[in-house]
């Protein structure tokens, strides 16, 4: 084992021992380990790498000086990767765990890829055939001696980490009635597993659940649509029945304040036709709490501690469900950085959820003229009335940022985040709001993806100050990358792109240092870990998703012929 890795491992062990105060059972991950995950270079214990959501590895065995020796170490094919591989692998004690479509879960030897166990849940196939977003899965959680995975038919399942055998299987959502289920990863917090339901265009009320990690018993349920008396007043009449507000990506946990941070999706119907009179007219008059909002929840009770609605009465499907909450300490301030789908980055006070700043990541935004960085006011908001929308709305429905995560390097102080530049022609149509379950999508518009004004569609990786948004460098792509980003202490930033190329850049300068063709587009996670004293980079390749489905018509090849039912976990290490 090279010296830097040894040193880091030793530091991490000491740090963990001081946090834990005692040895945990072999293979088990106790809450203190999760709380200190950002100091543990060998594992990747939770979706965002740690509760700080840095998507950053302390490992530097693979670095900017030797990256050219990076080569494929092993590959795993999960099969049936319908709509692509969209999850985030996790690693504990040298074992890599990951999920694929249909919530299939695999445990592999992290050094060799040897299969240790697999779990294929039986799902409601008829329900899956009716769902718009099925059957992909975006990840798992680890805690104590169990692995947790949600299913598209509304269940949360706990597996024994050592054997893959089910320990409990809890039905949380009546998906057969509400259409939606779980695609997002759970989050393990203390003795609870927290998971949010799908839903932006359906009649469900976007619940977020807290479940007892040992027994599987539901501890609490927070309704993100009209879940409190205050929120109920923000939906005119009975319009809360149109629903929305799914918490469909995993948020994070702030240990110091004992608060779960979670984002919510848009209200339904999408593209309501109320125009400027949205407070009083249209299908859902009012601000529609707690949709398109950031929530601070008590992990024990699910009680709301605070909220901030990024887009009051979201008329554009630019929800706040992006699960990335990046903890940044700056000049004595404890901040939380959160991307909104509309292409803005919101910065909050971690103590109370108050707004600290807002900055613009995407170049092409016209759903508002701007957002006041101090008050959060949407300046010059374009509330849409029935009829043709002119000029086209920017960004398009897929957003200025997507569901996958950026990365933050404490070493460079830079936040690496992908933005998407595209717009849509549209005609808002006064449809009939759906208020009873089991109908399909609830949208009020026809639309078409178009390039932004004066140019082509493009994407870009920005390296920015996470608090001020000051840009240091940018890399552009003809087609926006959709996968998550990884930063490492080796002064590297990895971007798995939409065409199948995995890029490695110098984290300080943005210079491309290395690339490799994984053979199919990426829409999932990327991590780094150590097994047997060796650093690995694991990336999911496998194209699909509602956003990715646009690429064939928008860009032609290679997406026109790219399969959307195939995927692989590809793991790299140094060739020597």
């Amino acid at each position: 084992m090279p010296t830097p890795l040894k040193r880091l491992t030793a530091c991490a062990t000491i740090a963990l021992a001081s946090v834990l105060g005692h040895a945990s059972p072999a293979g088990a991950i106790d809450p203190a380990q999760l709380a200190a995950a950002d100091q543990n270079p060998n594992d990747w214990l939770t979706y965002h790498g740690s509760y700080k959501s840095y998507h950053y590895s302390l490992l530097d065995q693979i670095n900017a000086d030797n990256i050219k020796q990076l080569a494929v170490a092993w590959t795993h094919f999960p099969g049936r990767s319908t709509r692509g591989l969209q999850s985030m692998p996790l690693v504990a004690d040298g074992v890599l765990y990951y999920s694929g479509s249909y919530s299939r879960v695999f445990a592999l030897d992290g050094a060799t890829g040897k299969l240790l166990w697999s779990f294929f849940p039986e799902l409601d196939d008829e329900l899956i055939s009716m769902q718009t977003h099925s059957p992909y899965n975006r990840g798992i959680a680890l805690g104590n001696d169990k692995l947790y995975v949600g299913t598209v038919d509304g269940r949360l399942i706990a597996l024994d980490m050592k054997t893959g055998k089910p320990v409990w299987d809890t039905k949380l959502v009546n998906s057969q009635k509400l259409t939606v289920g779980f695609t997002g990863a759970p989050l393990f917090v203390k003795d609870k597993v927290i998971i949010g339901s799908q839903g932006g265009e359906w009649t469900s009320r976007g619940p977020i659940f807290g479940v007892d990690a040992e027994t599987g018993k539901k501890s609490w349920e927070f309704l993100t649509v009209a879940g409190t008396d205050e929120a109920m007043k923000t939906w005119g009449g009975e319009s809360w029945r149109t629903g929305g507000g799914g918490g469909w990506m995993p948020g994070t946990y702030d240990v110091e304040t004992d608060t779960v941070w979670w984002g919510t999706a848009n209200p339904s119907p999408l593209y309501d036709w109320s125009g400027a009179d949205w407070q009083k007219s249209g299908p859902r008059p009012g601000t529609n709490l707690y949709t398109s909002s950031v929530l601070g929840l008590d992990p024990e009770t699910g009680k709301l501690k605070f909220y901030y609605q990024e887009l009051p009465h979201d008329a554009w499907d630019f929800d706040s469900a992006v699960g990335e909450f990046v903890s940044i300490d700056r000049d004595g301030r404890k901040l939380m950085v959160h991307p909104n789908k509309g292409g803005f980055i919101f910065v909050y006070d971690r103590g109370n959820g108050k707004l600290d700043n807002v900055w613009k990541l995407a170049d092409n935004i016209n759903f508002v003229k701007d957002i006041n960085p101090k008050t959060g006011e949407l300046i010059g908001r374009r509330d849409l009335s029935a009829g043709v929308v002119n000029p086209p709305l920017c960004p398009e429905i897929s957003g200025g940022v997507s569901w996958n995560s950026g990365a933050y390097s404490p070493k460079t102080g830079l936040y690496y985040k992908i933005a998407q530049e595209w717009c849509q022609e549209m005609e808002v149509v006064k449809t009939t709001p759906i208020v009873e379950p089991m109908a399909q999508l609830n949208i009020g518009a026809n639309f078409k993806l178009v390039p932004p004004p004066g140019g082509k569609i493009y994407g870009h990786l920005d390296a920015r100050d996470p608090v001020t948004g000051a840009k240091k460098w940018e890399v552009r792509y003809d087609a926006p990358p959709l996968a998550s980003v990884l930063a490492t202490a080796g002064n590297l930033v990895f971007v798995p792109d939409a065409s199948g190329i995995l890029h490695a850049y110098d984290a300080t300068s943005g210079q491309e240092l290395w690339s490799h063709n994984d053979g199919i587009g990426h829409v999932g996670g990327i991590i780094s870990y150590s097994a047997g004293g060796k650093q690995f980079i694991a990336v999911e390749a496998g194209w699909g998703s509602l956003v990715g489905d646009d690429y064939a018509a928008a860009f032609g090849e290679p997406w026109k012929s790219m399969p959307k039912d195939t995927g692989a976990l590809i793991v790299y290490s140094m060739s020597q």
Partner: protein, 119 residues
């Protein structure tokens, strides 16, 4: 479009009026729960298309997007109805339990009305 609606209603009447619809317009001032009741839009294929189909079949079905362009589609009526009912695994949801036969006929009538010229 009014003609299409009339045709769709005639077809729907011939095969039996759709099951009670699952949609209703909430009134901001209504004191009680919204009550689902039949309205003309329940059998208006154009409106139903925008509600549930337009996300993928873009520009109201006139352009390819996530799903194929439907204007000028050469598939038979039976094939299109079957696709709407059964969907396509991994690509298109099955609407057979969400929509009545009459509503599916209305959507088909809307698709057949689309002008393929210039698209």
């Amino acid at each position: 479009m009014r003609q299409i609606l009339v045709v769709a209603i005639l077809i729907a009447t011939a095969i039996g009026w759709p099951a009670p619809p699952r949609a209703a317009t909430p009134d901001a001032n209504a004191p009680g729960p919204a009550t689902p009741e039949a309205s003309s839009s329940d059998i208006d294929g154009e409106t139903m298309f925008a509600t549930s189909c337009g996300w993928c079949h873009q520009q109201g079905g006139r352009a390819a997007g996530r799903g194929p362009k439907l204007a000028g589609d050469k598939k038979s009526d039976d094939a299109l109805i079957d696709r709407i009912k059964r969907g396509k695994p991994g690509a298109m949801p099955a609407f057979g339990r969400a929509f009545s036969d009459g509503q599916i006929i209305a959507i088909l009538a809307y698709i057949r009305s689309l002008d393929d010229a210039g698209n």
